[in-house]
Symmetry: D2
Subunit: 337 residues, 4 copies
């Protein structure tokens, strides 16, 4: 931690600050510069992090040196985390495609979509049973009925199942049916929920909040790891910017930044990251080229009739076609798919 002092700081103020630092068991090191002086603090930075140092008279600003996350960092664990879910490995050499409809609508719908996805070679099926919707008047998902359909289709086709949790009270229910628990972008800082899934034995797919910095994203994951659950996948799904041509701005840089800072696998959701089906393929190709460990793509057999997100869903034929290209791109960057 570096504390930059004001030009007109007094000796009394400096004493007051250094006493505080010492009272916390840390060592202050004063360094007088040409224009400004600074205090470097030696010791466990976290102790100081939660102190409101900015309010001490004479302090201009406080600059942390260390990242606030520990368990998710590369420095804590240098090799890539690979999560094995019933034999499907996420985070290894093989890029994984997660696909499926936004919402589970019926057994027939899901079965038909899942068969197409499997034909393309993908073995992880997504589908929402509890749907977060901007409007209280929109379709909110089938609830447990949806979970049952998911599980049934998953079992019939031998696919791994991922679905979203919206309420901590549903955890037991969702754990019963799902293989991977998804936390949506709107709940990325629902700390209650993060703590609960941190206690779960199931892998978690955590989506980035639409205005979360990468640092906040990693801190949200830290909540889960600090609870004991190290099986976390981080999902970039677009951030909110001033641009209105697309629903969100897919932060392609985030993939490499996260891979440098963390050992956790990175998944990209090009469906939400663009918001338009005819932009999904390009974003998917780009994500693999940039180093993503997996993709999460919305596929619907009849987007015109989809109960949600139809405008960003691919029809099965387009998906199958896309996977061909993705395979070539993966190979070009030294991965399999």
């Amino acid at each position: 931690m570096i504390i930059v002092l004001k030009s007109d700081v007094t000796q009394n103020q400096i004493d007051h600050i250094t006493e505080k630092i010492k009272s916390l068991g840390l060592t202050p090191m004063i360094s007088k510069g040409v224009e400004k002086s600074i205090i470097g603090v030696i010791g466990e930075e976290d102790i100081l992090r939660s102190q409101p140092l900015e309010v001490f008279p004479g302090i201009e600003k406080v600059i942390p040196i260390l990242a606030p996350y520990k368990l998710v960092s590369r420095e804590f664990k240098s090799e890539d985390t690979v999560i094995d879910i019933k034999g499907v490995c996420i985070g290894g050499k093989k890029v994984v495609n997660i696909a499926g409809p936004c919402a589970v609508e019926s057994y027939e719908q899901l079965k038909s979509i899942a068969e197409a996805i499997k034909k393309a070679g993908s073995v992880v099926l997504r589908g929402g049973a509890f749907k977060p919707r901007t409007s209280p008047y929109s379709f909110q998902g089938l609830g447990e009925e949806g979970l049952k359909i998911l599980r049934r289709v998953g079992d019939e086709l031998n696919m791994v199942i991922v679905t979203e949790i919206m309420d901590a009270r549903d955890l037991v229910l969702i754990e019963k049916y799902a293989d991977i628990i998804q936390i949506g972008a709107r709940n990325m800082q629902n700390f209650t929920l993060l703590r609960e899934v941190g206690l779960s034995k199931k892998p978690v797919l955590l989506k980035r909040g639409i205005s979360a910095t990468i640092k906040e994203f990693l801190m949200a994951a830290e909540y889960i790891l600090s609870g004991g659950n190290f099986q976390v996948m981080l999902c970039e799904r677009g951030i909110r910017t001033f641009e209105t041509e697309t629903r969100f701005t897919l932060d392609i840089n985030a993939i490499s930044v996260i891979k440098q800072k963390s050992h956790l696998p990175v998944i990209v959701d090009p469906s939400h990251g663009t918001g338009k089906w005819n932009l999904v393929a390009a974003a998917a190709r780009a994500s693999i080229a940039a180093g993503a460990d997996g993709l999460m793509i919305e596929v619907h057999n009849s987007p015109e009739d989809a109960s949600s997100d139809g405008e960003q869903s691919l029809v099965p034929e387009k998906y199958i076609e896309l996977v061909q290209t993705l395979r070539s791109v993966a190979k070009a960057v030294g991965r399999d798919l």
Copy 2:
């Protein structure tokens, strides 16, 4: 709803679209322009809103005409909503000051702060018992113990109490102690929570998400009103932008925009809206000048020792001084305080 057709749309595609519209009980009106044709749809717009029209071949874009919210709108209720909480009216001519520490730390701390606030003429006390914190390693609040302290101080000083709910499971508990239930920025789209407080009899103070548009903010309030709870206050607390000198960018324009579009009272939180105690006074004055119905300000008797948000808290003397000026500003714009 206006549907803009592509330049090269075919008659078959137009027929397919108009059939869909008719099947929903709506009336399509085609209008051929010089360069593009459009279809205007007559009837209940909400029916069409959830249809993924963008995926129909031949459609370039879909433009909604009506706002997606109903109950929160000025068109639904033209006069201002005034919420009466034990005689304290929010939304009327009198501007209301809500103040208190970020987190309840002890009875002594809260009592001392509350006395100073009351001396300044403010009668609504805020204080957190459950704290949403970016880091899992930070102080998370006193829980029910904090609620008890809040209630005790509130009763002793005859003040109205507001505190944040983070988990739907805590609703009964919080209803027992608080007069106003706060939903924080991170939970603005925690739809589960919104639905639950919509069923409560207690007034709700809903904070704007840091990257929520005004439309999304109003839709979040719509969730609560649609559950039957019309006692909602909307709190602008700064949005996330590229500027890093301040913690957030206080959206001063939002006050007038919301007052034009909705009948609900608007509160401003200049403490989070700036993130620095020495910017709070200016932002507070500006908010009242812009038409806010109330302010929510963090006050701490010893910011240097605050367990959270010390850097944006005012000491009691500064708060008392500020209220004097706010009173003059309120008068200048035809309000009382």
Copy 3:
């Protein structure tokens, strides 16, 4: 300057870095922390600022301690700068209203608007002769003819004239007619133009770029001051954010931040800062309450026929009415108007 080293930095890398620092005449001070080591550099920070230190092996990040601007800073000059233009003082106790049409359209138009503005007590007249327009097909201003009209009306009503420069080649022309030279938001980082007006004897009103940080804004002003022209006013006019209800998000916090960091006067443009005439009054009141030294407001006698920015212009009667309220708000915060 603080240089944070990587955890796995080698002694060779440290030697390479410290040699570089010494070769620039600066002194490196190494400080070993528990988890990371840092190098503090003593000496003129600007020498190091332009060095690409991030590319040196072993360096994790580089943290500057000092602000990059000098002449515009409060540390360089602690008292407020007051600019006297023919007896009109900007930056003193009196808040100044600048008003007028977006574009000069004709003598009759400008004279009529100017008379109304003067009636309201304002003595600084704005009007564009060269207009930056998003579309090449829009009205681009009357050019020198517009400047002549501005000067004539200014002289007839004894008003100070401000107009925008878009091209360095027009400087002599604009200096001939205008009292204050405006640099628009789009040209805030047109460094050629900044250098040229830095050599002028005329005061400059510099608008903030729509995505410029406050630091970049102050650096743009530094260009002008470093050329010798210290008569610079800084104009906050809204920044670009994700919110679409308003044309821009007026950064009300920026007023106080700039007043803390710089001695230059701050003007606010609530017309561009909102983009809608019916939001201008609230934003204008808020700006004065927050400490602005002046306002710049678009006024048009017939907004329906305005050649540009009609949607954000006030009619003269509304402007006169607004100035009344602004006077009360100014008084409430200890200023005159």
Copy 4:
């Protein structure tokens, strides 16, 4: 153009609006909806675009139907524009790599870098002679001397030369030396400059402003095409967002959006789009996978000594290595490189 009327619009107001529309030679079509009425306007939309309709009493909002740009649109010209510069084709099947140092520093520096670039198979050389710098105290480029070096190295190695123009007064000079004229992000809305290069015979590489929407970017290009110069390349180089881990957020979606809307070639600058040399390779691969027609990459033989942008420059060996991978990615998406 669709005009949405307020719920409480009067017949008088409607008459006033329709008269205005008719007076412009257009035809209003009123359509009464259940909750709101609208007026569709038939005829040349551009006539109405510059009218401030929002100020007419009774109008709630105005919704344009057509894009404001013409010449740059796919509807104006459906096939891709291919620009041939001395035999180097940009916009065709072959992806083009533009590379070189941020600033020309000396003949030796440039020659050495250019030789490495050519060895990698790239034939377009970039280098700045006039540099836009945030600080007035930073290196501003060698000026004409830099142009001469560029031309000399270009001629010696038979490479095409691109360099930035910052001032309209330098156009003749730059045309004399350069093959492609670059307009930087800060000047994207320097309309004076856009008009001037619109009259030039040289191809133009136009960079996107850091907070320009895609629509504004295309409008800036429209300025150039409307002057008669159709040889324009559009360069995505990252936009400003709230994320601070990277210098800018590369808008990978913009590539596909622009290719859908416009016939002009799209170049991506991953050096500025990330701001960190160790993120450049991933962003470059992603850009080609997403459909870019070319890349622009900063290469420096000794980034530690670079006079600007060293932190985002690749050393020649890294560049040569990167081009190998890019070739595979290009092939995977059906392109050559």
